[in-house]
């Protein structure tokens, strides 16, 4: 009975990770370890916290109030547009754009740049994981 309980309890944890490919899963695990080092009460990333980070406006690097959705649009399954250059941005949602969240190198690059552009600072490991869970759920 106890074994069964542990089995069912662990399903959500596995499920939340399983849609990432292997290198991304390893990156998520690494982020979790870093998040735990900063906050010993840390349990798991959370897509709702991620959504808040993604949609809340901040005074960005250019001195203009922006959020991630300013360029990526609120519907991640649709094209976005860079509001400064007018360049079209392919959908962020991995369900319609298979390339998204598939390369750790790409993911690290965009998280680094875009947190700086919107928040004028790097994201914490927890914030990065939250945002990745949010995007992955779309």
């Amino acid at each position: 009975m106890k074994i069964l309980y542990i089995f069912f309890m662990s399903i959500p944890l596995i499920a939340s990770d399983s849609s990432f490919n292997q290198e991304m899963q390893e990156y998520i695990t690494q982020l979790k370890i870093e998040a735990l080092k900063i906050d010993k009460n840390f349990e798991d990333f959370d897509m709702e916290r991620g959504e808040k980070i993604f949609t809340t406006k901040h005074l960005g690097k250019r001195g203009k109030e922006i959020s991630c959705t300013s360029c990526h649009s609120i519907n991640l399954m649709e094209d976005g547009k860079n509001i400064f250059t007018n360049k079209e941005i392919k959908p962020l949602s991995p369900s319609v754009n298979k390339k998204r969240l598939s390369s750790v190198k790409e993911v690290k690059k965009w998280l680094r740049r875009n947190f700086k552009d919107v928040f004028v600072r790097e994201g914490t490991p927890q914030e990065k994981g939250d945002v990745l869970y949010y995007i992955n759920s779309k």
Binding site: K61, R62, N82, F84, T85, N86, K87, I89, K105, K109, R112, R113, N114, K116, D117
Partner: protein
Amino acid sequence: MKNILLVTCFIVTNIFANNYLFGASIGVKPVDNPLYLKECGSCHFAFQAGLLPSRSWTKMMKNLENHFGSDASLELEDQKYIEEYLTRYSADKSMEYKRSRKIMNLIKNNETPLRITKTLYFMKKHDQIPTKMIQQKEVLSLSNCMACHTTASKGIYSERAIKIPNYGKWDD
């Protein structure tokens, strides 16, 4: 003698072929580097290397963290590779192309422009355009080449390939 003639013929044909495609003049060498196209072209039009001198690209690539107000930082390896590409085909090294040559001719030796739109040749070519044509949402700014120059990605900036959104052809 015959050989020299042949080689000269070959070179001339090559330059001709490089500069003309389907009758339109290729003003600047088209981008032919996949990494440059991917990395720089994901946020803005992939401006051809031949639109700025080598020293400009070097200076720009050293400060990608503050790239015209955005963080465009790259892994060092990719940054070096792209800088090498841009400086190898920069305007001062592509003088066989008309636009590169004209841009260079109007840049002073002590100048290191970072914005293509602030080079004298560019400004002269765009100073007659009414602000309302530029500031409309389909264009946004003069750095959005493709909005009006329909063949910009081929390195062709000729007047007959211009189509300004909501206004149409442009006559000087």
